[in-house]
Symmetry: C2
Subunit: 385 residues, 2 copies
């Protein structure tokens, strides 16, 4: 029975399932990224879409006022309320959302920038800027690897047309890329190459704009794998990354983090057994863990998560093999020679998630584990749009 | 352009992504289930884990005071606060949660029952009842088909031992089953057989308890597919089901609902295009739709959802082919001869979800669509534990 009463995680005052955030690991992950980016000589604009918590943001940002990256306008409002004054809303802007962007800029004096990849959007942003008397800064999304949005880095005509359309009323701040295809890699060499391709695409696009006489001060790239494996970021001015702060099993599969660095876990209570099947049932189903099964496509399928004792050490070969809405089914990996741990009804375990962004979003707070293994604080987090 | 300004769904006041709930379809789904269960002569104890909304609960329940089924104690507290007085918490009870169960019973005078499947849990419930001076009603979970928890219906020894352990201090209310394996079926005959197996397992277990001299007034079964396909429920006293109220693409794949009956959708705004790839990008990524990809294992894979116009009519062959956190990628099904609809940046669509329980949980409210196609109300919903 590895359930030290003094750890706090066994306390009946703690309602399960709930999120546990290991503050030491979080701080170490942040320090590691900061040191790496310092060596490469680029600024860090942490992506707050994973944590969605002002307490985490303050640990991640260089200063309480920013800079930061957000994925929703709800995040922009929440972090502006918390004192963040320099943010990029890194999802393509819809014209209907410009009034809300303007309200964040005006109410909190926040320098909130938008992202776009079409002339139509640039025209809408320029028109809005002229009507509102607020020259909105915008970054052109450039396609790093074909995985999602963005202008192709070699499409000079579109890049320059967007830049000129923006300059007619708004402000071209720079270019922004996200090497999402790196999520499918796992070899360090391939990841370093993906990072170099992202850098090259960014620099090519920025130079195209500059050659047309446009200002392009910001060259922004970012994904946890390419940030981690980049060897040279010449020409890049800032890196965005977020999920590395918490880490997760998917990023461990890619090689961006180590399993022992994962700072986020779900605390669960055993609620039953199917001894005939070798199952332990807990109260952390997919509602608590999320439906994310990202590791299913990786070399090691971790089910719905890796099961650890209360000190955070994984039980050998024990994973969440299946999940219903409020039931998690713990079982040994197929073919394992390990023994099922003795976990009676009421015993607790910690589960490392597939995907910190998805698992975090199922909850409204973090229970923050201090160096002594106690819950020293509760940090709220937001969700929604 | 099928975006009638008069529908309300194109209004810029509506922030996307958001949930839209078609009240007519919801009422029709409820009326259909009620009529079906009336014909079979069993009571309906609606499962509120999908909706998590008191407004939906009041439409679903026979009376404002219940009865109902819940999947978390947070739901029990919320619905008790809203006037529900007869609830079954249908997830195996952990001993640490008994004080919270007792608090709901005492504070609101709510008849909240628990579920268990082991002698250890029954002893804990009986001891708690004696200490608290509150004879807690408990149902024994019986395994319908091997998919999750529960005592095997033929395991007389365990069933009777649990029943006797409960009667030592608490109250044996009955047996409870959930035919989760029916989710993997799709042929009506196979579904009817699964329903009959669930009924037989329930009646067998109840009769085993009664033969031992124990009272077993409640025989509770439930899953949307077996509830829908049951032809005879002799010996069963109540049916629990929840997801049918909203319906979803997974249940449509099973055959429990029709696509045209799906009452829940996610309203999304177009934020970009990749015309070279045939993609339309929207602001409803997996954060808004959930990571649930239940239809991936069915005959028709619906991606992250089926894309409809604002009137709720599916565009031919248009699905959410992929999703990032805040990006949904709309594309035609592979091999489709259909044409991509003309949806400029700012246009809106409605997306039918894979799984209503999972998609609903990504949001905190329903925008309720009335018969005139307008948002007539906003119904809050809860999440968490």
């Amino acid at each position: 029975m590895l359930q030290p009463a003094e750890s706090g995680l066994a306390s009946p005052m703690l309602t399960t399932p709930c999120l546990v955030l290991d503050e030491e690991r979080l701080r170490a992950n942040l320090a590691g990224m900061r040191a790496h980016l310092d060596r490469l000589g680029v600024a860090f604009r942490p992506h707050l879409k994973t944590a969605k918590s002002i307490d985490v943001a303050r640990l991640a940002m260089a200063a309480p006022s920013g800079s930061a990256t957000v994925s929703t306008l709800r995040e922009a409002e929440y972090f502006a309320e918390g004192g963040v004054r320099d943010m990029t809303y890194a999802v393509g802007i819809a014209p209907q959302k410009l009034d809300r962007v303007g309200a964040v800029r005006q109410r909190w004096g926040a320098n909130l920038a938008v992202v776009l990849d079409s002339i139509e959007q640039a025209d809408a942003v320029a028109s809005w800027s002229q009507r509102a008397g607020d020259r909105l800064p915008a970054l052109i999304e450039v396609d790093a690897d074909g995985h999602r949005s963005g202008v192709k880095p070699g499409d000079t005509e579109t890049l320059v047309a967007i830049g000129r359309a923006l300059d007619a009323g708004a402000v071209l701040r720079g270019v922004l890329l996200h090497a999402g295809d790196s999520y499918g890699l796992s070899a360090p060499e391939a990841l370093a190459e993906a990072a170099e391709r992202e850098r090259m695409a960014a620099v090519t696009a920025a130079e195209t704009l500059r050659a047309a006489g446009l200002l392009c001060p910001v060259v922004s790239i970012g994904s946890t794998p390419t940030a981690r494996y980049a060897r040279d970021l010449t020409g890049v001015t800032e890196v965005r990354a977020g999920v590395f702060m918490f880490g997760d099993l998917f990023q461990a599969g890619v090689g961006s983090v180590a399993v022992d660095d994962i700072a986020l876990s779900v605390l669960a209570t055993v609620i039953g057994h199917r001894r005939d099947k070798g199952w332990i049932i807990t109260d952390a189903g997919w509602m608590a863990l999320s439906r994310d099964r990202g590791t299913a496509r990786q070399a090691v399928d971790q089910g719905y998560g890796v099961v650890c004792d209360l000190t955070g050490r994984p039980y050998r070969d024990l994973i969440v093999a299946d999940a219903n809405q409020e039931h998690g089914i713990l079982a040994l990996r197929p073919g394992s020679g390990a023994e099922l741990p003795d976990l009676p009804a009421g015993a607790r375990v910690r589960i490392l998630p597939n995907h910190a962004c998805a698992t975090g979003a199922q909850h409204d707070r973090y229970h923050v584990l201090d160096a002594a293994g106690r819950i020293g604080a509760v940090w709220p987090r937001i969700n929604g749009w």
